[in-house]
Structure formats: C-alpha cells, structure tokens
Symmetry: C2
C-alpha cells in the first residue's frame, strides 16, 4: 500500500515571539530584554516541521486568521516542505500567537499565548482523503471534534494514530481510545491522576487502548508504558537556553521512529535526545537535530533494531 | 514667525502587542490570554499621534529596522498624519517591540520591551531644518547625543524644549539644562533623589533651568513646580483597563497646552484628564481624547485662561 504522505497533522500552529530574559519580569515594571526570535510554533506545526526535516512527507490542517500572522505561519510551514492545503483561513480573525519568556539562567520558559480567535476546525472541514493519504494521523486534540472524527477515519483505514496530549480537555480520553500512541504532558498527568504519578497515568491511558502511553516530565525526562513494559529516563543534560518546542519534537521523534518501524524503547530514546537538543537555542525550530543526526543516534542506541 | 510644524519629536517608536490578562502569569507555566491589541507605541511616537489628533502638525525622527515591524510603525504614524521623513531605517536590524501584560482587574501593566537593535540616531542625522521648522522640540532623551544636539539647536532658534524623561540616563541632566519643560517618571525621580520625594526632584530639576518641572506618579497623579509654584493632583478616577500610553499622552497634553499659550496649571489639569482617559481601553492610542474634548475640558478648567 503506497501513501502520498507519511503524516497528516491536525492541530495548533502559532507564531511565536521568543524573548530571551535575564530574569523573570516583576509585575507593574518596564522590563527590557535584549534578544527576540520570531518563529513559527505550535505543537503539531513544529512536529511536522521536524518530521519534514527528517525526510517525512507531511500535510497540515489547522486554523489561522487573515491578520498577517497567518501568512507568516503558512510561510514557516511551506519553507520546510510541509503541505499546507489543510490550513484554513478565517476572515477577520486572529491567528494563534505566543510570547515566550525564555530564561537561560534558570532554564524556565513561560508561554503567554492566545488561541486563534476564529472557530475551530470542524469535522466536515477535514477531508477524508487527507487522512487516508497519510500513514500516520498526528494531533494535539485542540480541535477535539475534528480530531475524534479524523482518528476514527484513520483507524478504519488502518493508519497509526499518534497524540501529543497537552491538556485534559473534554473528549481527550475518547481520543485516547482511538489512539496507538498517547503521550501526555505533566499537566495532563496531574489532571488525570490528581498528582505526580506518571506511571499510574500511563496505566490508566493504556487501559483505554493505546499500545504506547507516556508522560513527558521536562528535566525529569519521561515515563512510558509500551505493551506493558515500563520505560523511563531522565532528560539528557544540556545547557538550556529555551525549552520551547522540546515537547513538540519529542512527540515528532516518537512518530518518526514508529514510521521507521523501530521498537518503542529506541523511539523514546531518540525522542529524549532530540528534545534536549531543541533546548539549546531559542525558539522551537532553531535546534531540531538533522535527519542524519537522528539516524546516527538511532544506530548508537543500545537497544536492538 | 510662521512654522511648518508645531512639534518636532525625536525618540522612541515601537510596535506594541497588548495582551489583556486575568492575572499575572506565573513563571514556567503556559498562560492563555484572550485578547490582544497590536498598535504603534513608544513615548514620543504616541505623543505625536495624540498631538496630531489634536490638530498639531508633527514631524517624527526615530529608528526602526527593516523587519516588518518598521513598516507597521511607519504606517501607524502616517495614518495619523504624522510626517515620518525623519524615521531612519537600519538595514538588517530589528525595530523596537513591546509585549504588554495588561491586567484590568488590578490596573497593573507590565511592559516587556526590546529597544531597536540598530544604532541610535546620531546628531548628524537630525536635520537642523526639521528642528527649526517646528515651534516645539519634544524628546524622551533615548538618543541622548542627538537629543542634546537638537535641544541646543532648538534653544538657539528660540523654540520650546519639552522632555518626557523616563529614565535617568547619562546626559539627561544636561538635557534638563536645555529644557523649558522637564517632567519625569517615578523611576527617574527615585534615581535622582534616592526615594519617594517628587517635590524635591522638581526643585532639583528646576534649579537646572526648566520653568516647568514635574513627576508623574501613576494613580497618585503628579507633582509639579511651575515658576516656583507647586501644583499637584491625584489621578482622575477611571475604570482602568490598561495604563499603556497614559504617561505619553500626559506629556503630549502639556505640550499641547503650552502651544496654545495656556498657563501651567491648566496644561497639567488637562494632561491629568487626558492620561486617565487613555487607561480605559487597551493600547496607548485607543482612547486618546479628541481635540474637541480637550478644548471642552480646558474651557471648564477652574483656572483662568
């Protein structure tokens, strides 16, 4: 069975302004910072940029406004070879925007963001052909109805469903039940199990169906459950400048490994390395490792092919 | 003596993104906000926009980069009728940018800003004809060497020199010595006198030469010294949404009153009213009172014409 695309992605795309700060600004002050990077962002959009750099053919569906940011977001995807035929432009509306306060001294990152002001992607706006044309369906669940619809179509067509779950919104557990890979943020984990119990969260999510579940934990790395096997690791130590995009690229790397047919441990190990690298420069797309680096890391991985 | 312009302004121009927040974001979180206004800003640029709306002819000199923001900044001035022949574009550089965290609930406003990355306006870049063509020279002292040069030229030509002094930088007291009006921020005041002693600051500044000195104090209003007379008032009470631009418009209103030949007390009273109005909507230029309102306030002012 041949496919036109490796990944069909549905979810957030943003324009990110990353300011590099010496310290966290106090309220009610004027705080001058020195450096700013303007870059496309958003969990799914950045994941697709990473996957495209690693040679995967990607198609993106999301929402922007006709506010100038939208065109920059589109350009940031097309310049990376991501197909944007699914990018919907809402007239008179604003695009997703984030101002990121990055503190290299502490490694902290504070994201101030506004979601697109236009209406969400509706299920009917997701062309079934896009889903069927790709080997993997990849989403963050932001447009939950469309995500549930697309996941159901993808499953029926025998496609893999991979979810980067940042927030425990209504419908997210229904989405987990339709997923093969469901890896969540620390915030999602706490909302699900009421505390810092990532393995418990993995087990609960795995009970819904996904063969690979996990929780990303920032500097503490990740905890995952792959067909009943617990896999965990602290984050790779790097000199952190800005952690924007680390999670996005972690999930992208898992999807990449699965597309290559690697076992979960190798995928997660690769994801952990890729995520750490992203933290070494400001902006989520500045330090994505190259496809060659990804392959070289995968070859040196201690796990069997 | 006729003049081509009422005001020649030299100083900051910015692109401001004002986000409206329910609370101040905690570090290391993702904080979603709902509303964002994109607007030109910067103390001198916003003051000239206000003066232009009040029928004064204004010419602006400042620095932008060729980064997209620069063209938006220029457009935000030209749309208001401000002459931008003095706007210098530095190739390959970034324009001034601010992300403002406005909290209507508390009235707090936190400005995260980056100055233009290109070099400052040099004295030789300020055309003497621009200075001589205007009745008033207006500056924030950001480009201190050019400001000192222009103030000296303005004085020799018999023009009024009005300074909105936000920060006690090197050279600012030399600039005070060349000024007719020198009104400073609370931050400037504290740096000058080592504490919360605005009248003491007014006296020290007046000793350098300006006939009108003052300190703006946010919700506490202002304290000023006009030819030896102490004038003060708390701020007008309004429902505060965003205090961005309040200071800029306060200073602009003082300059406006002086251009009309009004006495200091009337100018300051008008400035206090105009500044409060600016706080009622997000962004420094959204709620600048109209010229008619300014005249109506001035007529009702308890002071004599």
């Amino acid at each position: 069975m041949s496919s036109d695309f490796d990944v069909f992605g549905l979810g957030q795309c943003s324009l990110d302004y990353v300011g590099v700060f010496d310290s966290y600004p106090s309220p009610d002050t004027k705080h001058e910072f020195r450096r700013m990077i303007v870059q496309g962002g958003g969990p799914v959009a950045t994941a697709l940029v990473a996957l495209s750099r690693w040679g995967r053919r990607c198609l993106f569906c999301g929402v922007v406004g006709d506010d100038g940011f939208g065109e920059q977001i589109r350009a940031s995807l097309e310049a990376e070879g991501v197909d944007t035929r699914g990018l919907l432009v809402r007239a008179g509306e604003g695009s997703q925007f984030a101002f990121v306060i990055a503190e290299p001294v502490t490694g902290r990152r504070t994201i101030l963001w506004r979601r697109p002001t236009g209406r969400a992607v509706a299920p009917a706006e997701v062309d079934t052909a896009w889903i069927e044309a790709a080997r993997t369906f990849y989403t963050d669940g932001l447009f939950i109805e469309a995500s549930l619809h697309a996941a159901a179509v993808a499953r029926r067509a025998g496609r893999a469903v991979v979810v980067d779950a940042g927030t425990l919104r209504d419908g997210m557990l229904d989405l987990a039940a339709l997923s093969d890979v469901f890896i969540v943020s620390e915030t999602f984990c706490r909302a699900l199990v009421g505390g810092d119990a990532p393995l418990e969260a993995c087990r609960r999510l795995a009970a819904l169906g996904p063969s690979l579940t996990g929780v990303t934990l920032g500097a503490r790395g990740y905890v995952a459950l792959a067909d009943g096997e617990v896999i965990s690791s602290p984050a790779h130590e790097v000199r952190v400048v800005d952690t924007t995009g680390c999670g996005d690229v972690f999930h992208a790397a898992v999807a990449y490994g699965l597309l290559r047919g690697w076992e979960a441990r190798r995928c997660l190990d690769l994801a952990n390395r890729a995520a750490a690298r992203v933290a070494t420069r400001p902006g989520g797309r500045s330090a994505i490792p190259s496809g060659d680096e990804m392959l070289s890391w995968a070859e040196r991985s201690s796990t069997k092919l």
